[in-house]
């Protein structure tokens, strides 16, 4: 349950959603994607209520990347990425105008060489990148990603955030739910801290990710600092 949440996500910026388990990060993302209807309140996209767009139109404007990396059949990588074109043509398969968008999406996350491979033969990191490529193939201005780096090794996690950074620099609006607070401190321009279904703080990352606030929200003593020139957030002891 979420209530009284008011946030604004800006183009050209990465907005991080952080908070303890059950704080409502995924619920908020799914609501922003139009997958859940809010019981009260309003979600607007470019000033227009989200509810007034039809499904395919939302798919062309918002790409949603869930935490679970599900592919039910051993499809080829190309077939999975091509699904991102569905809201544009409702006709997958990489024909016509779709081919450049698919090729571009695969190149952006470095999976072009896997195009003919079955997704069942991929490593966890490769699959994560393929699913990001699917979202990129949607060519949406808004990307909502739920824990995109969960289960990825540090190199792949950094690589993924570099891709997100590049996409934001191109003017896209990126919203990511994150458990890794150091990644949030390092890569997110803005951070929304959620606690018990409410917004505990929202604003530029250095202002919101303070040791005091994080300790309170996460009920654990947290330390915030820099290490090797990058911001780091670590839990010190449980129980605030």
């Amino acid at each position: 349950m979420l209530s009284g949440v008011t946030i604004a996500c800006e183009p050209g910026r990465i907005t991080g959603l952080v908070g303890p388990n059950g704080a409502g990060k995924s619920t908020l993302l799914r609501t922003l994607a139009g997958l859940l209807a809010p019981a009260a309140g309003r979600i607007s996209l470019d000033g227009t209520p989200l509810a007034s767009f039809d499904r395919a139109e939302i798919g062309r404007r918002i790409a949603y990347l869930p935490q679970e990396r599900i592919v039910h059949w051993p499809l080829s990588v190309h077939a999975v990425v091509a699904l991102g074109r569905l809201p544009h043509a409702r006709r997958p398969g990489g024909q016509g105008d779709d081919a450049p968008a698919i090729a571009q999406a695969m190149a952006a996350v470095d999976v072009a060489h896997l195009a003919e491979r079955s997704v069942s033969a991929l490593s966890g990191g490769e699959l994560a990148r393929v699913l990001v490529a699917r979202a990129l193939a949607q060519a949406a201005r808004v990307i909502l990603a739920d824990e995109p780096t969960a289960g990825l090794d540090p190199a792949h996690a950094l690589g993924l955030f570099e891709v997100l950074q590049r996409l934001a620099a191109e003017g896209r609006t990126i919203v990511v739910a994150l458990h890794d607070l150091s990644l949030a401190a390092r890569f997110c321009h803005d951070v929304v801290v959620l606690g018990e279904g409410r917004v505990a703080a929202a604003g530029p990352a250095p202002e919101t990710l303070t040791a005091e606030r994080l300790s309170q929200v996460f009920r654990a003593r947290m330390a915030v600092g820099t290490l090797g020139g990058v911001p780091v957030v670590v839990p010190v002891a449980p129980g605030g």
Binding site: Y64, E68, H72, W73, R91, Q138
Partner: protein
């Protein structure tokens, strides 16, 4: 796009149509063969031969292709929708409902009084069962509630069929019920073709349209919704489509097992595991399988003692066991 990309792309595009072409040619050849074989060989065109061809072999051939196509296509659509390779029309109660409707038509004596009462009863049973399953499964609940509701309805229909058999005082009706449940295409007329064709065609049209939605569903319901898929409409298309097609097929031919399960299974690797590319090939493959089973049946037992449903299960089981062994080898090489 580089040259090799273009080559890969054209290869990718040509694979699925080639499969359709091959299966289509196979089906056509089997249909011609089915028209040519029978207890009285068709030699020079004579009036009697023309009559046999038009009144006996043509309906049988058309029905075999239609029934097999309906079963294969429904199996592929349901497996894609439920994202479960074990799904088939029996799982969601369609076959059971059709069986119960037909059994009631036989038991009540309606089938004896009026020959079309049997297929009409089967059709009504299939549609009734489907409405109950859809009602029980409720709104957005995904595949699980649909399977649970289908299993419940299947159990009730098979219990009721057994109940009808148990209380039946008429031994002829009981034998007719048992034979009908085994599935057959013997002694069907063009009336059966005209009766079932509209439902099979309408159901198939509904299912053939959902290919891209089934593909999207491979990434989970949330991603499919994000890609613009209306889940409720997809569910209605798949369930109503298979109910119409399989209901009509079961109504005219009795219960024919295994086709809906095995055909999509066998063809899936050839279709790149993509649900949308599996639909048409499964329809053609199902038609070819039932047609060849019926041809085999007519060659081996011209008097028609062995039943079509028995043959498809006997032919289907070894295939299925081979699949089990192959899957086991893949899992534990």
């Amino acid at each position: 796009m580089t040259r090799s990309d273009a080559a890969i792309d054209s290869m990718r595009r040509s694979r699925a149509p080639r499969l359709v072409l091959q299966l289509g040619s196979l089906l056509l050849a089997l249909m011609v063969l089915s028209l040519l074989i029978g207890p009285t060989g068709v030699g020079l065109p004579s009036q009697a031969a023309g009559l046999i061809l038009a009144e006996i072999r043509l309906p049988r051939t058309l029905l075999a292709a239609m029934v097999g196509g309906a079963l294969g296509l429904s199996g592929a659509a349901l497996q894609g929708y439920l994202r479960n390779p074990l799904a088939e029309p029996g799982v969601i109660g369609i076959s059971g409902g059709a069986g119960l409707g037909a059994v009631i038509a036989i038991h009540s004596g309606a089938a004896a009084a009026f020959s079309l009462a049997l297929p009409l009863g089967g059709l009504a049973g299939a549609l009734g069962a489907t409405l109950i399953v859809l009602g029980l499964a409720g709104g957005p609940g995904g595949a699980l509630t649909l399977i649970l509701a289908g299993v419940a309805v299947s159990s009730v229909t098979s219990a009721l069929i057994s109940g009808v058999l148990a209380v039946s005082r008429n031994p002829f009706a009981s034998v007719e019920i048992v034979y009908w449940l085994l599935g057959s295409l013997a002694d069907r007329s063009l009336t059966h073709v005209w009766l079932s064709a509209p439902f099979i065609l309408a159901g198939s049209a509904l299912m053939l349209r959902v290919g891209p939605s089934l593909d999207a569903l491979a990434l989970g319901e949330d991603v499919a919704a994000n890609l613009g898929i209306a889940h409720e409409r997809l569910r209605r298309s798949v369930v109503a489509g298979s109910a119409l097609a399989v209901g009509a097929a079961t109504a005219v031919a009795g219960t024919i097992g295994f086709v809906g399960l095995v055909v999509p299974h066998l063809l899936r690797p050839l279709a790149g595991h993509q649900p949308s590319r599996l639909l048409l090939p499964s329809a053609l493959g199902g038609a070819a399988l039932v047609l060849s089973a019926d041809i085999g049946l007519r060659l081996v037992t011209p008097a028609g003692e062995l039943r079509l449903g028995v043959v498809t299960a006997l032919v289907g089981t070894p295939f299925f066991l081979w699949l089990v062994v192959r899957t086991r080898r893949e899992l534990h090489p």
